[in-house]
Symmetry: D2
Subunit: 388 residues, 4 copies
Amino acid sequence: MDPYAPAPSDHFTFGLWTVGNRGRDPFGLETRPPLDPVRAVHALAELGAYGVNFHDDDLVPPGSSAAERDAVVKRFRGALEATGLRVPMATTNLFSHPVFKDGAFTAHEPAVRRYALAKTLDAIDLGVSLGAEVYVLWGGREGVECDAAKDVASALDRYAEALNALCAYVRQQGYPLRFALEPKPNEPRGDLFLPTVGHALAFIERLEDPDLVGLNPEFAHETMSGLSFHHAVAQALWSGKLFHIDLNAQRIGKYDQDFRFGAEGVRDAFYLVKLLEDAGWPGMRHFDAHAYRGEDEAGVLDFARGCMRTYLILREKARRFHGDPEIQAALAEARAAALREPTLPAGPTRDALSALRSEAFDLDALAARGSGCERLDQLVNELLLGVR
Amino acid sequence: MDPYAPAPSDHFTFGLWTVGNRGRDPFGLETRPPLDPVRAVHALAELGAYGVNFHDDDLVPPGSSAAERDAVVKRFRGALEATGLRVPMATTNLFSHPVFKDGAFTAHEPAVRRYALAKTLDAIDLGVSLGAEVYVLWGGREGVECDAAKDVASALDRYAEALNALCAYVRQQGYPLRFALEPKPNEPRGDLFLPTVGHALAFIERLEDPDLVGLNPEFAHETMSGLSFHHAVAQALWSGKLFHIDLNAQRIGKYDQDFRFGAEGVRDAFYLVKLLEDAGWPGMRHFDAHAYRGEDEAGVLDFARGCMRTYLILREKARRFHGDPEIQAALAEARAAALREPTLPAGPTRDALSALRSEAFDLDALAARGSGCERLDQLVNELLLGVR
Amino acid sequence: MDPYAPAPSDHFTFGLWTVGNRGRDPFGLETRPPLDPVRAVHALAELGAYGVNFHDDDLVPPGSSAAERDAVVKRFRGALEATGLRVPMATTNLFSHPVFKDGAFTAHEPAVRRYALAKTLDAIDLGVSLGAEVYVLWGGREGVECDAAKDVASALDRYAEALNALCAYVRQQGYPLRFALEPKPNEPRGDLFLPTVGHALAFIERLEDPDLVGLNPEFAHETMSGLSFHHAVAQALWSGKLFHIDLNAQRIGKYDQDFRFGAEGVRDAFYLVKLLEDAGWPGMRHFDAHAYRGEDEAGVLDFARGCMRTYLILREKARRFHGDPEIQAALAEARAAALREPTLPAGPTRDALSALRSEAFDLDALAARGSGCERLDQLVNELLLGVR
Amino acid sequence: MDPYAPAPSDHFTFGLWTVGNRGRDPFGLETRPPLDPVRAVHALAELGAYGVNFHDDDLVPPGSSAAERDAVVKRFRGALEATGLRVPMATTNLFSHPVFKDGAFTAHEPAVRRYALAKTLDAIDLGVSLGAEVYVLWGGREGVECDAAKDVASALDRYAEALNALCAYVRQQGYPLRFALEPKPNEPRGDLFLPTVGHALAFIERLEDPDLVGLNPEFAHETMSGLSFHHAVAQALWSGKLFHIDLNAQRIGKYDQDFRFGAEGVRDAFYLVKLLEDAGWPGMRHFDAHAYRGEDEAGVLDFARGCMRTYLILREKARRFHGDPEIQAALAEARAAALREPTLPAGPTRDALSALRSEAFDLDALAARGSGCERLDQLVNELLLGVR
């Protein structure tokens, strides 16, 4: 039996836009035909996924009448019921239509901002009706190229105003829904607001209803800036704010690649998987990625399979990390557990601080002790490479 | 009269380590002799600076006896009094000595963490005794290369514990001192904790005494990751957390360069100066930079002069921005002021949200309107280039 | 009279695809209507441009019959004659159609490679018929995401084979045409072959007819990798291989931005302009850039005006650099001219090398001399900022 | 028996400066005591290395008298003889002493350039006397921060002059020595000349004796710019110019890290090893890396062991790549071998080019074929992860 075959209990989810990606890029036309959402649902179920997520426009073509929308949703719901696939998350497309060219919640024009809010309220209703418990907000056009044009403080005011309105709506409706902000540093705008996990975490603290809002960190987005995605997710977890996650692959300092999970940066991917699994994090393992542009439909399925298999391979390695006696000995040698000991066990009382200042430190001895990290790191590398 | 000659009222400050930088780098030995701190004070005063900042070790050589320290401090205080130069900020060197090779507040070894705290408490006393009102904390060694060795959540726990202890001490002593965290993404460690302004802002919210702690953003550090420094500082201001600032220059994706302010990224520097001046921000304009390694002492003075002159030139341009009729017309054409208008003037009441959803939006008309940013951006460029 | 108004004698050129860019990006639909090439010609002529360049598909819609093509070309030629605008360069679109998804000259499939060659031969005929003397080759799809799939040596063999065939054709036809390779590091592929000016220069030396092939360096492409564009162009000039140039603006480590010339990196732009002007380089000043996506047609014209104005402003500053007595004094102080003196005036004879080894060098004195670069750099900055 | 234990026949070499690195960095003092070169030789021999390389100053302390030098060399030679360790490569330190602060071969000051040449000639004699057949030239200070100060064409002239002189000397002496240029984009200078493998390859073609000069590409240096190291080395091999190689690890867009081989970018490392092994490249596998700063001497040995083990693990995987039937089937499906077929088997004759233009291409069919890269890439990932 294949130990790396995914099952719904693994909680893997994909967006309709991921397996449905048609391969268009800034320099080339579509290479793949459209993928019917119902067909996507069946394909994902056969592959062993747990759920499927969508932007409003992925499911309901923009401009549909109410009747058309209802028909589309009914057919989609039928596929979900037939397959058992769930919809754990939903989101809004606030970036494709030219009306959002100056942003959505931070557009100069108040009517654009109101339209963005209205579109999001509609999409929240749709998502909740299909069972979504997390609502992702990616501010893909909330940013600038010409810094003179947009005052950052005002933009953050408007961004917060929109979030406050969405939270108020969810409270008014009594929806069991939480929001997850997805940070990104740039592309398609020169600079985006809330560019990293940190900036978004900090922003949430200034909202009126911070408990309803958390993060949807994306591997590619944090990695584009050369920041450690594993560290960012760890800080989000430490802050109690990891509500959702976007898994994919990306090389530092390049265009947004959204490659198959593990296709680049497999070591970073390992530490991320280990973090989520060690923490027992209960959320969805969502893949926000797409197949290379050269693939046909078979390649798209290979892509989806590969995302899940790599996660499961890394999950198994994370388990073996804890059972590997040499790795555990190297951790002990590196004194890793000592970091959990408080520096001041009794707290920073006057006495404790005073005692500290008269303590005799043998700096030379402390400095001489080797960190043991070369050995530990090499052992982990060999675990990753499958030779231990 | 030179319109760009600095005066103490401009509140320019330098670190002892900046004009005293000796030009050592990873591949080369020192190119300049040591600079006596007293000589630095006199030189900075002659150049028109307002103040001088220091790490404990910059002023008092490590290993000094109490008597030696007192003699050094007395002589330094004499220079301050003779010149009128102030010490608005102080900080601790928690990175040069090998004892800190695994970090200071997040070192595995509790004794190293205690020593780091004790050294900081001593340095706080010294800084306060010389008038410092801001205490900068740069966690230059708080990070990792081998992710297996250091659990991020534990590291953040220890980092927060240290901050909580420092805040408790300042409260106990009744010192008029606030802390300013200085984020940096990497170097000298592979990945540093609190890598950006955002991550540090978010971290502060989890401390026991968040009011005492703010930010010391550095131009080079945020820029290394390709993030907009101007946006980061704007978010810090928006959060009420801009306590200090480090001005210098840096190219994206390179080693920590700490070049003369304006030497790279003059457009980013302009938007930063404009932001600080428009906000009437009352803090120090601190330069954390150093002369090119090839310079002699005369070059170091040229470097210091250049930092201040460029700030003053950009300040003048920021003023002219507001008085330039074509720029103001372009801003009006770009509808920049509309961003200050609330999206929902009455707030997100049920009625307001409901009304929003029945509002008719003319998407085509909204999408057709040009943003006017090419014209505006070009006008600002020409202001910067001095041809308007 | 406006000193920065462009004239045809300034030799500014634009691609049809630049002013005709419709604002589509990876996350959004077109924001601007199509621009008729004839209208583009008239608009560019009115703005003061010298010429217009095109990809085959920009002018002749793919799939046109011979009669349709002739009609399109005739109408376009009419506009050129009416306005006096020239076509100094032409190129082929080998990236938009899905057939090129695996590359053009380096596609696995020989039929794709043959089609790419045939399409290029047709486009060469078209370009030459309209007066083009330079033919640009941008290998936008010549690259990989999955390194296992494509052997680099074979890819370079095929790339060279294609270039050799194109050169043979031009020789056979007796066309007065030279080729210019346009390097790019990545996007739309994960890694592109010939990623920098250097790699392309080296590649040319392995071709059968290297004299016919040179470079078309692009500001954005070299800058994406954090490399100095000015240095790259200088090395191309030094190698006698600067056949064309693409001017625009870009931030390091980000997606391909193609901003208005000078919109980012104005200092790099200055050194580039100074290099071209000091060298008396006779080629076209071509802008391969496009307006921000938010602009309407008026904004597109502002964009085109801005490119040319910034070039002319920087050209004027480059002239003033040579006439500024303080800058010239600082150059003398920095001993800049000494770099033109040979190290071994008589060449590396046995005697000269032997003499060298017995020469007494006063290392301390040589090391003590300041480089004078802080002062020089600041003076140039002030020239750029228009305050001298 | 350990299948990954290194033996001299594996041709692994280390620099004295690598195992002897003392852990100093821009922000911290040395953490490790000096390592006696003789002790280094014995340690490397015990670890299974083939050879040891050095900068002149690594072996002979600067300022040594001729007698002191001879004593040092004699003792070192004794260790070589005792252990059987070889010295396949030597190089010059042209970057540590302040005299080189403005560069060595491209310094403004002719006396500095002459001193650099003289120092290199001495070091060549020393290297050759110990058996070196490759002489590496890393131009660590050949670059600028202030572009106004240094004319690039003149700098390239001087650089070429120096190379020409060194080649002349080697010819005069009849030494069996070839030169290998080591490119680097930046650090310790803002921009270095010959920043990539490509720029250096192109430069060599303009030298008087290009056959004597090739490349020493370094993993970290090419990777700093985000370029593919594997592609760069492949182009160097394709050009017949891979004379030496520097193996280590590095993250894109960061300071020069020189980590243990495979510590970052293990997938890039795999493709590199596969390239060298598939090509049967006969050169040394040289590690230009150093242990993390936190390590003690035991950690330094772990570091050296890890470099070699990882190479051998990847070499074994490269072999298995060729024998894995699923991978080979995926390569066939991806039509990888077709890239070796010429596009124009008969060459670019008039007839062949003419025939090409009348060939009927079924673009839709060609475009529809999937590339099969998702499947292939995933299989390689699983090979790397050791689960196949």
